[in-house]
């Protein structure tokens, strides 16, 4: 099982710590490891890690044990009802490669395909279709979980344990298999409508309007725009191309869905070749001035009048995956992503005004409307708005990010734990009012307090 100490980091590369890393081959091997930990073998606890795409310290366990799920990669046959059982180490991209040719689609995909199903469940990830289809936890049929006593359990929606695990940041056990309900598609392309908006009011109303008519919506927003341009955005709205349309470049499905065996059609998921990012970018290029110029250029490049194009799954859902290792571009200090959700648009406006006024050097930020919350205690999405902004990990930005957090908390909003790397722990109970309920359910699954991460230590989560 090839065990060794490795220095691990979050995707933002600003949080790092060493851990003893092992690659377990099976659920039974994971269960045996947890039982040995329960017997007192691992004083610094244990944590599962997928592809390390959480931005901060959620997949780190300083001085402890980290179980990589990269050998738990079995993909079962798609059942006639669209369900499929996969190992928790399977990535969304791998699953798409397997199921798209058979006429199926993963119901929720975040902005990268390089997220494992285990990680997706732990963070209860969302995608551009949250306003219609919620987060990934809504599409899970059942989970196989190794709990903190080493027992292998089946956890299903409605079980009390479900809310401890889904959104539970890996602290309630190690998910080894995920059974997911897929959705049928009839082509591997999307029909995408791109438009640009002049200010925040226009962006918000355009997103609201697009949500009524499109399955996938998102806006790329210029956080450095000032004055009347504040909140201007490039908005994209997409839908799976249906066989009635004549997609340019996409091939519609001819003969219905296939469950097992050979693909029934020629549609395929091809992420294309990824290009390596430059190893570093001079830090001067990450200044507000150059970022503003970049954001300006991006905005200008978008069509002033709406344009409809056909895009591949990879280019529409995972545009950044084309640049391998793009997270290295921020150099040694790394970067962080600030993502919050809030119901009140006044809060969104206040945070954008703060970022603009303080010249927070954010690259294009992502704005999206969320549908109703899943109701699970640590699940991030709540009805309203979510804004995600990448910024360099510069200590000088600490105070302004803290002010943004206070604004978000005062409006009853919250930060996304899969992205967080720096929030004040004392804001957590206000942001997640069901935190204590989650702690109780979590403690039932992990009575010896084995599952721990640098995130849980930093935020005193459990």
């Amino acid at each position: 099982m090839n065990t060794g100490t490795q220095r691990l980091s979050g995707w933002g590369r600003a949080n790092t710590s060493p851990a003893l890393v092992s690659h377990e081959e099976s659920t039974a091997a994971v269960a045996a490891l947890v039982r040995s930990a329960a017997a007192g073998g691992l004083p610094r606890g244990i944590l599962a890690r997928g592809l390390g795409r959480s931005y901060g310290d959620a997949a780190l366990n300083a001085g402890g044990r980290v179980v990589r799920t990269d050998r738990l990669t079995a993909i079962g046959d798609v059942q006639p009802d669209g369900t499929v059982e996969v190992g928790s180490g399977v990535s969304i991209a791998e699953l798409l490669r397997h199921v798209v040719p058979r006429g199926w689609f993963v119901p929720v995909t975040p902005g990268t395909g390089h997220v494992t199903l285990g990680g997706a469940v732990a963070a209860d990830v969302h995608g551009k279709n949250h306003h219609r289809e919620g987060s990934v936890g809504r599409h899970v049929v059942r989970l196989q979980l190794v709990d903190g006593t080493g027992e292998v359990r089946t956890v299903s929606p409605g079980d009390p344990a479900y809310g401890a695990v889904v959104g539970g940041m890996g602290l309630s056990g190690i998910v080894t298999k995920v059974t997911l309900r897929l959705r049928p598609i009839s082509s591997a392309t999307l029909t995408v409508r791109t438009t640009r908006t002049a200010d925040l009011d226009a962006t918000m109303s355009a997103l609201q309007e697009a949500d009524r008519t499109h399955r996938y919506t998102v806006a790329w927003l210029d956080t450095l725009a000032k004055g009347s341009g504040l909140g201007r955005a490039v908005l994209t709205a997409g839908d799976h191309t249906t066989s009635g349309e004549a997609p340019r470049g996409g091939v519609p499905v001819g003969g219905g869905h296939s469950t097992a065996g050979e693909p029934a059609s020629s549609i395929a998921y091809s992420p294309g070749r990824s290009l390596p990012a430059p190893p570093w970018v001079p830090s001067a290029l990450l200044s507000p001035t150059t970022m503003r110029a970049f954001n300006e250029a991006y905005f200008r490049a978008a069509p002033a009048r709406p344009r409809v194009t056909t895009e591949s799954i990879a280019s529409f859902f995972h545009p950044l995956d084309v640049v391998r290792g793009w997270n290295r571009m921020y150099g040694r200090p790394g970067f962080l992503q600030h993502q919050f959700a809030v119901a009140d648009p006044q809060c969104l406006r206040a945070v954008l005004e703060l970022f603009s006024r303080e010249r927070v050097p954010g690259f294009l930020a992502v704005l999206k409307r969320f549908g109703p919350s899943s109701g699970l205690p640590l699940s991030f999405p709540t009805a309203g708005w979510t804004l995600a902004t990448d910024v360099p990990a510069s200590p000088q930005l600490g105070p302004v990010l803290d002010r943004a957090d206070e604004l978000v908390a005062s409006y009853g909003g919250r930060l996304y734990l899969a992205k967080d790397s720096r929030m004040r722990p004392e804001l957590l109970p206000a942001m997640y009012p069901d935190l204590d309920h989650w702690r109780q359910e979590r403690a039932l699954l992990d009575p010896h307090h084995l599952f721990v991460s640098d995130l849980s230590r930093r935020l005193h989560l459990c």
Partner: protein
């Protein structure tokens, strides 16, 4: 844990009454994440004052705790350090204790050896105990207050300089030994710092305040094992002084 912006949540001070230590705790608290301060030192009004000051700095979210610690009792150090780590991980260990002997002390064999016990022997045992804990937790910063006096001992200050030279060498080597464990050692070499320890001495050129040292420490935490000069210009000055012939160096009015 240190967060992405390198703000620590917990600090253990060895030598609670040190002015530089108190300024450093204040500077760490201003980063807004400090919620646990353990002040280890000899009981007395100076430590009490340090506890009171730290309590007001960490505010409502914070817990400040005092531990009895005597640098001259290495046999007790492991237990004191264990006590400090009993409430959770410690992000920063600040070794700040030390005495500055006068000429009479340096001339008395027993008293001179006692200075070595405090400044060097006690530091070695306290750092060794702390390093073991930090290594086990897989993260943390040890900040060691060395001195420019350890870089090249001066005739007016050779006993103090010798203890700091030993401490500096020990901490530097320890930092390299800890490479890859997640633990970093920051060796701080201040010049003349205007504190209660140096009160009554005529200030030297390039002298600084305790708060200047504190800011340099805060900036270095999380940045990897390194040596920090305060002020930074001292690095250049000392690289010149280090290479002066001894006959010249001993005649310098320093």
């Amino acid at each position: 844990m240190l967060d992405a912006l390198r703000s620590p949540q917990s600090v253990l001070v060895l030598g609670a009454s040190s002015d530089i230590a108190q300024a450093t705790v204040a500077a760490l608290a201003r980063r807004g994440r400090l919620d646990r301060v353990v002040l280890a030192g000899r009981p007395g009004p100076r430590r009490d004052a340090a506890v009171q000051k730290a309590t007001s700095e960490v505010g409502r979210r914070g817990v400040v705790r005092a531990l009895d610690f005597d640098a001259t009792r290495p046999d007790e150090h492991e237990a004191v350090v264990a006590e400090a780590f009993a409430d959770g991980d410690v992000d920063v260990v600040l070794l700040a204790f030390g005495v500055l002997p006068d000429a009479a002390t340096a001339a008395a064999p027993d008293a001179a050896a006692a200075v070595v016990t405090t400044n060097f022997t006690g530091a070695v045992s306290a750092l060794t105990a702390s390093a073991a804990r930090l290594r086990a937790q897989g993260h943390g910063t040890m900040v060691v207050l060395s001195s420019v006096a350890g870089e090249r001992p001066r005739r007016s200050n050779y006993l103090y300089g010798a203890t700091k030279a030993g401490l500096d060498a020990f901490a530097t080597g320890l930092g390299d030994d800890l490479a890859g464990t997640g633990v970093e050692v920051v060796v701080v070499r201040p010049g003349f710092v205007r504190t209660s320890m140096t009160a009554g001495l005529g200030p030297a050129p390039l002298s600084v305040d305790a708060s200047d040292v504190a800011e340099a420490v805060v900036a270095a935490v999380g940045g990897g094992t390194r040596t920090v000069w305060v002020p930074g210009a001292l690095r250049l000055v000392m690289s010149v002084l280090r290479h002066l012939p001894r006959a010249v160096f001993r005649r310098l009015p320093i």
